[in-house]
């Protein structure tokens, strides 16, 4: 092995191995510590927000299982997930409040609030334009098709 390659190895592999060992050490230390140890300790507001977010995410999953068709499942999965993510990210931002974690959590939250309604909109639009069936009762009408807008959009899109 040449001297150049050895110096590159020493410059790259040693810090990488050190940081990987630090990460594994932090995870293992937290996993073997007592149950109460987490970043949420001593932040009752952050605990309440994380619990609220978990309740909303669980409600979204229950709605995803129990609702009858694609559009109602999208209703559950989009709105409740946005609110649950709000709770958990706000709780994490409060719990990490010294400078290290808070800006990153706020970045994740901003990106999440930009993208979560957009992906729900994309799924609903392609589901409707592809004609997936929806839950119908007596007297259900499709207002959009009754207005005659369908031919125009499908001519543009397809």
């Amino acid at each position: 092995m040449s001297r150049w390659r050895r110096s590159v190895l020493r410059a790259v592999a040693a810090p990488a191995a050190a940081s990987a060992a630090a990460a594994l050490g932090a995870v293992a230390q937290a996993a073997t510590a007592d149950r109460a140890a987490s970043a949420l300790d001593g932040h009752p507001l952050a605990q309440a927000l994380v619990l609220l977010g978990c309740v909303f995410l669980l409600a979204a999953a229950v709605g995803l299982v129990r609702f009858p068709d694609v559009y109602t499942r999208l209703h559950a999965a989009t709105k409740l997930v946005t609110l649950g993510g709000l709770g958990i990210f706000a709780g994490a931002a409060i719990a990490f409040f010294p400078v290290d974690g808070t800006p990153r959590v706020l970045l994740i939250a901003a990106f999440f609030f930009l993208t979560a309604p957009l992906s729900g909109y994309m799924i609903a639009r392609s589901a409707y334009l592809r004609g997936l069936p929806w839950y119908q009762e007596a007297g259900s009408v499709d207002d959009w098709r009754a207005l005659g807008s369908e031919a125009q959009v499908s001519a543009e899109e397809r």
Binding site: A23, A26, V27, A30, A31, R35, A36, S38, A39, L40, Q47, V50, L51, G53, C54, V55, L57, L58, A60, A61, V62, L64, V65, V70, R73, L74, A77, V81, G84, G85, I88, F89, G91, A92, A95, F96, D100, G101, R104, V105, L107, I108, F111, F112, T115, A116, L118, S119, G120, M122, I123, R125, S126, A127, L129, R130, L132, P133, E157, R158
Partner: protein, 86 residues
Amino acid sequence: MVIDIAIVSLTVSGVLATYRVLRGPTWGDRVTAFDFLTVNLAVMVVVAALRTGFTPLLDASLIISILGFLSTVALARYLLRGRVMR
């Protein structure tokens, strides 16, 4: 205590969404539940960062949410038009 409740409830919601991915009668249900699963995974990584206090996990959460959004948009466009991009 709170973090344990959070981990358990996120795991239960992931299992329920996995049921909808496997069972879902149409592809819309599967894509919806897949979107929910990616968001749930990003939130689980944030909760892991809260549990261990290891803040670089938050970067992993950001990348997971970006990949989940892009894959959801790609799936929706593919299922609408039969292609992802022109």
